[in-house]
Structure formats: C-alpha cells, structure tokens
Symmetry: C2
Subunit: 265 residues, 2 copies
DNA sequence: ACCCTCACTTGAACGCGTTCAAGTCATGAC
DNA sequence: GTCATGACTTGAACGCGTTCAAGTGAGGGT
C-alpha cells in the first residue's frame, strides 16, 4: 500500500531532458535533478514522496504544507525542494502510480470478455475504483493539471509517460474485443486516443461529482459506453463514410497533434 | 475600453443569496458583501476591479499582487479584501464582462445569415476574437475555473449568470437558423446547452493553443462546426431515432443536472 | 450637542510556497 | 594523510495571499 518507491519504474522518465514545450515562458525547472547519484539520494527522495502522499490523503493537498512534509519526513524544507522543485511535482509520482495501478486492474478485470462495450465499461469503472480513495484531494490536483503551463497537464507536455500507459490500455481494450477486426484499420489506429479522451471526460465529470461513492459518474459510464460502442459500430456502414471521414480528419489534424503525436498521414 | 463599471449590470447577481452548492465544505465567503450601501462604496469597488483588470492585462494574473492592485488603486490591501474576498473573485468581473461583450458581438455578426453552421461558426469565432487580448492571462484564469470548489467554475456554482447569458446566445444561434423549425422540439430545447459545451471544448482547446493568433483553434472551429451541423441535421432521419434517444437521455440525465438545471421530464 | 451604529478603511501580522548562501560529508586523486 | 570535488543538506529569509483587531467618520436618534 505504501511502497511508493515502486513508482520509480514509471516516473524515471520525467526529468529535464526534452526541450521546453514551446515559447512557454521563463525556463521552468523540471521535477528534479537529472540522475540520482547515490543510493541515499534515492532513498531520501522516496521518503519525501511517500510522506507527501500520505499527508495528502490525510489532510488534502492544500492543507499539507511543505514544512509539514519535511518535518514528518525528518528532513529540511530546502531538502524537499532539492528533490521536487515545486509542490506540484510531488503529485506526479502519485499520478504515475495511479495510472499504472489502473492499467493493471483493468487488464485483469476485462480479460474474461471480448465484448467491446463491456471491456470499455470495465476499463472506465476500474479507473473510478482505483481513484476512489483520492476523490477529495483529486479536485485540487485537477486544478493543477488544467494549467497549460504545468508539466502535470495531461494535454500539453508531450513526454508524459503516464498518458502513453493509459492510451496503450485503451488500445488493448479495443484490440481484445470482437469489434477490432471488423473496423477500418486507420480507425483502429485512431480510436485508442479517442477512448483516452473519453476517460478524460469521465475524469472531468468525476471531479465535479459530489454524489455518494460518485454514483452519478458510475451511472454515466454505464450509460455512455454502450452508446460509444454503438456509434463506433455504426461507422462500419457505408452511409456514414462522409461523417466518419470528417471525424477522422478532425482527430488527426486537431487532437493527435495537441497531445503530442504527429499525424499518421 | 476601461469602463468596467458597466459590468455591474451583469455581475450584480453574484452575491451571497443562494444556498451553497451542496456539501461543498467549510462555508466559503462569497465575492463580496450582499448590497452596496453607499455610492462611494460602489465607486471604490469599481476602482479596485478596474485597476486589477488593467494590471492583469499588463503583467498577467500571478505576477499581479494584491499589494500592487491596492497601491495602484490608492487603497489598502485590507480594503481590496473587503470588496473581493479573494484574488480570484477579481476575475469574475472580467469573466462576466467578456461574456456580455461576446454575446453582443456574436449577435451583430450572425444577423445576416440563417445558415446554422455559419451562425454557429460566427458565434464561436466571435468568442475567440473577444477573448484574444487575454489569451496569455486566461491560462491562469482557466486553472482557477477548473477547480470544482471555486465559485468561478463554469460547471458547478449553479447561479452563474454568465453561463445563462452564453446559453441564451446559443439558443438564438439555433432559433435564428433555418434548422430549428425542422427539428424535434425537445431536441431544440436541449441543444443550446450542448452548443455551450461545444464552446467549452473550444475554450479548452484555445487555452492550450500556442499557435500564432490561435490559428489552430480557429481552424478547429471552421472544421468542427459544419460537422456539428451535419450531425444535428442527420438526427431528423428515422434511422437515428434510437441513437438520438440515447443521446437525449444522456444529456438530460447527466449533463443538464450537473450544470444546474432540472431535467425537462 | 451628544453619542450610537455600522459601513467602510487601515496596515501589521500570519502562514504559506519558494529561494539561496552557507554549510556537511563521502569519494577519489595525489 | 590531505585535499579538492560535488552531491547532498540546512534553515533563515523573501514575497505572496489572506486575516483581523483597531480604527474612522457620516447619518440619525435623543
């Protein structure tokens, strides 16, 4: 439950290698230094992250102060900043880990069926289950993620490994279904990203959902997935060629580039 | 250009009358006191807002400090907080005004045509034009708006007059078009909110758009509006009954309630 | 004339995220 | 051994958003 160091396998790629995402502004520091040089270094980093995550869950994001994290972890404030150049970078570890857990859980739960709608519903519901413990604090998190200048944003910041993991999951949702072979290959190529966007919509809905156990979001998933499946299924018929072509063009030209993929041409 | 006091007509309704939007949390103070009692009061309030807007445009949101606003306006920091209980409430005036300007501009520009796709495109493009001067600082603004706990969020906070204004504009986009009479009355009732959501998507896209003059977003609007028109037009045909029914159900049950409307039944 | 009320105003002070000059300490070169 | 290097660590200090106890002063009741 609290071996957050395990996240490192996923989050190791978030360091300051890439050029900045455009004319963003003043050169922002990345999450941490380039490479850990010591074992102790990595331990300290993990300790701080672990402590932060625990406090975030206990008190919420804003109410957890950097001083409290440092004190609780037994280090100085400056030290916390040595490893995480800002408070929001502490979230990244959390985010990476949740993405990984979600993918694993969803894979296990959808293995038994090849029905596309069901697989999609499982994948989304699995996300809601994985994220449930963090619902309250996720609101604050989301606020940060919505900032285009933040490296936490799932949209900008091309080299976000967590998004790649999530998109890959949706590729499997589709590929493992009975629907995939029936579809136009180009569409199969595009759909995983669209399904990831579907998840983003669900996440948006979830963040604003104040019902018990986010029941409304769950119902939204149950209702919207069969519909999505039906729309995708309909795309096979000749009558819809023009509109499907439009949709594909829209995705290729406007959505994929924004989330850091070059058009498939 | 700077008669921000004119905003009052729109923003006067944002005061603490309504009950809080649910089990939100600790009783948050609203933007300001209930009713201005003095002329001088209203003048001071307007002066502070005006100054803040000017500085936001000059320096950006985060770089404009409350101390700077107060100093520049010739009042004390505490006084600024007397009128605006937090920095983010200063944005509300800005937001209300932009919504109002946009609606006026869009109405004027779409008056000459009854073609639905064209009217929709004009409405959206008009928003981009109205918002253009604030593109940089809007990113910071958006970050705040994405917080479900913030009264600035366009989604939660039912009594947001700006959203009502915007939805009303889209009602006119539809009603003034040749398409409206041909559509199912129930659908005509639902569409304005959906079109407003379309605008929200465009806004999201715009916030992340780093191209010159947000050209990519403009192209997105040009490409997505005819498609939206086509989809809506197709909904008239019998074949799509089931899917249209699903869509209507989804909207009525999950979207309208979230943005503070009770289902049409 | 007195004073009470209350809308309005003040600025010092608080707690926060963040920075930075000044350390500490293990490692390897000589 | 000793000394330089540089990764790692420290905590006081800075600037910010925000709060609050303490005013100020115009209007009205007596």
């Amino acid at each position: 439950m609290d071996d957050l160091a395990a996240t490192n396998g996923t989050s190791a790629a978030n360091d300051g290698t890439g050029t900045d995402g455009g004319a963003a502004g003043p050169a922002e520091a990345r999450g941490s230094r380039a490479q850990p040089k010591t074992d102790k270094s990595e331990q300290t980093r993990a300790l701080i992250l672990e402590t932060a995550m625990r406090l975030f869950q206990e008190r919420g994001y804003e109410k957890t102060t950097m001083r409290a994290i440092a004190t609780e972890a037994g280090v100085s404030v400056g030290n916390a900043y040595y490893y995480f150049s800002a408070k929001e970078f502490l979230i990244q570890g959390f985010y990476d880990r949740m993405t990984y857990d979600h993918a694993a859980d969803a894979r296990a739960r959808m293995a038994h069926t090849r029905d596309f709608a069901e697989r999609l519903e499982i994948a989304l519901t699995s996300w809601l289950d994985t994220a449930a413990p963090y619902h309250e604090f996720a609101a604050q998190f989301f606020r940060t993620a919505a900032d285009p200048n933040s490296s936490l944003s799932p949209f900008s910041n091309e080299s976000h490994p967590a998004r790649a993991t999530a998109v890959e999951l949706f590729r499997e949702v589709l590929q493992g279904s009975e629907l995939a072979p029936k579809l136009d290959a180009e569409l199969v190529e595009l759909l995983p990203d669209v399904l990831w966007l579907h998840l983003m919509v669900v996440v948006l809905y979830w963040v604003f959902d104040r019902t018990e156990d986010t029941e409304r979001t769950r119902e939204f998933v149950r209702r919207s997935t069969p519909m999505a499946a039906r729309v995708i299924n309909l795309s096979r018929y000749r009558v819809f060629r023009p509109i499907v072509r439009d949709a594909k063009g829209l995705i290729q030209d406007f959505i994929l580039p924004t989330i850091g993929k070059t058009a498939v041409k």
